[in-house]
């Protein structure tokens, strides 16, 4: 019962934060709210018995992502987002339809926390019952992550590596390579400022 209460409270916090992010114009506040959102969802992961995920979400969402966003905000010297004057109805329609389809999709979904749902009785039981004998690691998440689905984790390391090399590729070029557009928007190109 107490779990359910914490669960609902956190969920409501999350919803409030998410809507505040839509409304708020200050980028700094939006980023900090995202950090809070991430931390709250980490709390929710703990309530739902996903300790590893909570740990990671707190470190990544509330940590690394937030820092990167703040650095970018500082570098781009943008504090407020421009409020566009026209409010196109299309995004709202798309979102409402998508949401409606999702709600429709929950009709046949097994109840929250049901131990007899297909996800709980197929594939997963083997990890819970046999991994101690087969892998010998008490933290089953580690066993699945590094062994049963070790190849996914190899892909994950590759994703991180891709991001690192990609960011380096994007941000290591110091030369101004936009020669042809220079006249169109002089002053904003770093090549110009390098010369002065």
């Amino acid at each position: 019962m107490i779990d359910t209460l914490i669960d609902i409270t956190l969920m409501i916090f999350l919803a409030v934060t998410a809507f505040a992010i839509i409304r708020i114009r200050s980028l700094f506040v939006a980023i900090m709210l995202f950090s809070i959102f991430s931390l709250h969802s980490a709390g929710l992961f703990v309530v739902m018995d996903a300790a590893d995920v909570a740990f990671t979400e707190a470190a990544v969402g509330a940590g690394i992502s937030t820092v990167l966003m703040l650095v970018t905000m500082a570098l781009t010297r943008t504090e407020k987002e421009k409020w566009s004057t026209h409010h196109a109805p299309l995004p709202l329609i798309v979102v409402l339809i998508t949401g409606a389809v999702l709600v429709y999709g929950t009709y046949d979904i097994p109840a929250f926390g049901d131990p007899g749902s297909p996800a709980q009785v197929h594939v997963a039981p083997r990890y819970l019952e046999q991994s101690m004998g087969e892998v010998g690691v008490p933290n089953i998440v580690t066993a699945v992550l590094a062994s049963y689905r070790g190849y996914d984790t190899f892909g994950e390391v590759t994703v991180i590596f891709t991001a690192g090399v990609g960011v380096l590729l994007l941000l290591s070029g110091r030369n101004n390579r936009y020669k042809r557009d220079r006249d169109a928007s002089s002053g904003h190109l770093r090549g110009n400022s390098d010369e002065t």
Partner: protein, 499 residues
Amino acid sequence: MIEQNLSLLLVVVPLLAAPIAAMLPNGRLPWLLALAVSWLCFILAAWQLMVVIDGDVIQYSLGGWAPPWGIEYRIDALNAIVALLVAAIAAVTLPYALLSIEQEINKEQLSLFYSVFLLCFVGLLGITQTGDIFNLFVFLEISSLSAYALIAMGRDRRALTAAFQYMIMGTIGATFFLIGVGLTYVETGTLNMLDLNQRLQPILEHRTVHTGFAFMVVGIALKLALFPLHLWLPNVYTYAPTAISVFLAATATKVAVYVMLRVVFGVFSNDFVSITPADDLFLLLGVIGVILASAAAISQHDVKRMLAYSSVAQISYMVLGMGFASVYGLTASIVHIFNHALMKGALFMAVGIIVYRIGSSRFKDMAGLGRQMPWTFAAIFIAGLSLIGVPGTAGFISKWYLMLAAIEQQAWPVALAILIGSLLAVIYMWKLIETLFFEKAEQHEIGQGVQQRSEAPLSLLLPLWLLVLANIYFGIETQVLLKATATAVDLLGVADYHE
């Protein structure tokens, strides 16, 4: 040992080469490594296709864990065709890339660039090889992330906004796909595609399954630029570095079409398609896409952009084939995946050669250029014929099967749309031919920059002509491809069409 691990080596060799490339000094060494790896992969992929062409299936359990507990690679003729295609295009793009990339990318970034290129290649191969739906997502993201970085390296600053737009739409697509995977997982408890297929059959009526299907399909549709979700594509193909345009145009969307085929017919099933409006929707969007995108291609002022819109139209043909959900239809889709890669690869390469020489891809800058660059011009002409679907070229084969599928189901509006699409293709290709050959060069238009109106170096022409000749070869010698396709369609479990 190589044969036993064949399908895996195809992915792991370039994957291990990517970090090595990042550590190499700048210069031609990273390129040489990428080239060697791509040719090795080409050989491995060809070998793989030989093994499965008669209907055998290669099964490989990663980590030694039996599926569905572990991840498996499951290669049948369909995977093998697409993997061979990706490897082949990489193998011809890389020789071409040497000069064009040296012109477009800073010298001190070359080793990073080829490392990211290899990662993109790995991602695409990983998608085609895997038999696990979540593993597919992981490799999809490897290919996407590396593609965003590569596209942003274009010389025009609009390459940055194109990459950003693609990143937003691509990530939304991937997230939708993830939602779809989650919803099917909650109903089945498994992530293995074959296992999913079996466990989904009794619950095809479930609304959660329908929603999961919808989300997966929309997610993939964003990746394959299905009309009207194609908005990112024209900018990406126009502003990316030439070699990247060639590579992505010929592989990325084709791999996405493969994923669509695999998910719709391999994970769900033909039975599922027939009880949902999915097939009709594919036909509808395909017809609209063919006509509108072809029409849009005609009105472009930039050749790369025109080819990009043409790609949207050609992808719509593949979607049409899926919409028929028949043996002919799927044959057309798969054959067109292959053929379109050949023709679009050739066309983007040819335009890239022109850009290499005159530094622009706008129509007005290349007037009369065909006379000074006869080999490039001839290549555009032949690849253009293939794009239109003239008999004797590869493009004809896929159009032929698509027509057969339409006639078989007496879908006359679709047949008409295919004809109109070809007609529009004649118009926009003629526009290019006319500019290149019949218009006079306006001397005053030619300003500064790399102005050498003469034939390009051999290292650019050779890969181009390799693809052009492939267009002719696969237009005449159709046996191998059609045999592989027949096996693939058979394994997808689509029966002959019955009224």
